[in-house]
């Protein structure tokens, strides 16, 4: 077993991850490291993943799901074929972005936009609660103060789209966000 074998495995895993999460843009047929696999199995796995996301998004946007019934699944499948989110808040990102996407797309019935706005806000709140939870604070404060940890994944999703932040204690003891570009990289001596 050589380093080429390991590299081949790494490339295969990346290609498979793409084929499963972005089935509309990444076809296993065009990918040499996947072309020998049973394409039906790959497609079925991608479908399982979309179903799992659909079920989670239904729970997050319960009101919209009850209002649209089967249409909800149809719309979500279209959304999921071009959108995929990674990370611990992926469930909330799906719900947040899908509600935004759906609000732009569907104007009927009239109260749908109000319902979506409300559910969107609730999901944003839940997502941010995840990030500001005390458990994270308890275990990561020391690293944050030292600026040793790349905590870009800790930034609320609405911000992480545009900025990479480091959270630090402000002069009054509260936590404040500093854009990463304004933070000096820690040196080996530090």
């Amino acid at each position: 077993m050589s380093t080429e074998d390991l590299e081949r495995l790494r490339k295969q895993q990346i290609a498979l991850a793409r084929a499963l999460t972005q089935p509309s843009t990444s076809s296993p047929i065009q990918e040499p490291s996947l072309s020998h696999l049973d394409l039906e199995e790959v497609a079925r796995s991608a479908e399982t993943l979309i179903r799992k996301r659909l079920s989670q998004t239904r729970s997050a946007l319960r009101g919209t799901s009850m209002l649209l019934r089967d249409e909800f699944a149809k719309e979500f499948r279209e959304f999921a074929s071009t959108h995929f989110f990674s990370g611990p808040d992926a469930i909330w990102r799906d719900a947040i972005e899908f509600s935004r996407w759906l609000a732009r797309r569907r104007k009927e019935p009239a109260w749908l936009s109000d319902l979506l706005r409300w559910e969107h806000e609730r999901c944003c709140w839940e997502s941010q609660r995840l990030y500001f939870s005390l458990f994270r604070l308890r275990y990561r404060v020391a690293e944050w103060i030292d600026g040793r940890s790349d905590n870009s994944r800790d930034a609320p999703p609405v911000l992480s789209n545009q900025w990479i932040f480091i959270w630090r204690f402000g002069h009054r003891g509260g936590i404040r966000a500093i854009p990463r570009r304004n933070v000096a990289k820690p040196t080996a001596q530090a």
Binding site: M1, L9, Q13, L16, A17, L37, D38
Partner: protein, 296 residues
């Protein structure tokens, strides 16, 4: 010359120093995968549940009520943390942040053992959010070995790895299921969390004898079992985790218990979760099998 001999003797002494033997794991009995919807019912059925398996990931970013829930569980039941995304088969290596979070939960719970899956969930910066099978090759074994070393540097609690339902089979497989699982356990000193339902589903979908796989596994490595019902969809079994356990799976569970010195059995219901009282008959049936096979 004497100095060289002295150094050689010293090296020999260091090399022959016995590795401290790990204490045998204690038997936990028959328990349940903890789901928050059952929180209010668990004390009413305290005597039917020997231990809980908790999803470690649910406590990584826990709110104060969630941490209080963990304290409540920890004070009243033995707990086993079960991870979902350690991604032990990831060729990119282990996510240090996930490992730290997992370690925090293990340190907080101080369990008899902890567990995750033989799979990868992350590659090229993409969190797939799903357990993806590995090819059964030496390259996969090497990746698992390297990743496990990093995990075992941080977590000294015994680790079990679970077989998953395979949605994809690789033509380049070099090992059979039993060989692959056996090598992972023996080469890395980890235990096996044998998911009987996953093994049954794979055996039906890919047409092999599940019991033969169990017979070929290193029995003393099988520490814990998972079981639950699956379902048929479009001509294939899927691990839906949403129904009562089928007879075929009970038979396989009984066979495994008669072959291996299992320390714990977990009913792992994830979807369409009924009230706890509806799961008690399955727990009692599993307990009968466990007691019959492994007398106290």
């Amino acid at each position: 010359m004497e100095a060289v001999v002295a150094v050689a003797v010293a090296v020999a002494v260091v090399e022959t120093k016995p590795v401290p033997a790990r204490e045998p794991l204690r038997s936990l009995g028959v328990g349940l995968g903890y789901r928050p919807v059952h929180r209010d019912e668990i004390f009413a059925h305290r005597s039917s549940i020997d231990f809980f398996e908790i999803v470690a990931d649910h406590y990584f970013s826990a709110s104060p009520p969630k941490l209080a829930e963990l304290d409540l569980l920890k004070s009243n039941f033995p707990l086993i943390p079960h991870g979902l995304a350690l991604s032990i088969g990831s060729a990119d290596g282990i996510d240090q942040r996930y490992l730290r979070d997992f370690q925090c939960v293990v340190d907080a719970v101080r369990p008899a053992w902890c567990s995750d899956h033989i799979a990868f969930t992350r590659a090229g910066g993409i969190d797939i959010g799903h357990l993806t099978p590995l090819p059964k090759t030496s390259a996969s074994l090497r990746v698992i070995r390297d990743n496990l070393r990093r995990v075992q540097d941080c977590i000294t609690t015994p680790l079990l790895l679970e077989n998953i339902t395979e949605s994809i089979r690789y033509p380049e497989d070099e090992y059979t299921d039993a060989e692959f699982l056996g090598r992972i356990c023996d080469e890395n000193d980890v235990g096996l969390l044998l998911d009987v339902t996953n093994l049954y589903i794979n055996s039906v979908n890919y047409r092999f004898d599940a019991l033969e796989v169990v017979r070929r596994l290193p029995k003393d490595r099988i520490v814990q079992l998972h079981f639950v019902g699956g379902r048929m969809e479009e001509g294939r079994w899927v691990d839906s985790h949403d129904t009562t356990t089928q007879d075929e799976i009970w038979q396989l569970l009984e066979a495994v218990l008669s072959l291996a010195p299992v320390k714990g059995v977990i009913l792992e219901r994830d979807e369409k979760i009924p009230p706890l009282k509806d799961l008690i008959p399955e727990l009692e049936r599993a307990r009968d099998l466990y007691r019959h096979a492994i007398p106290a």
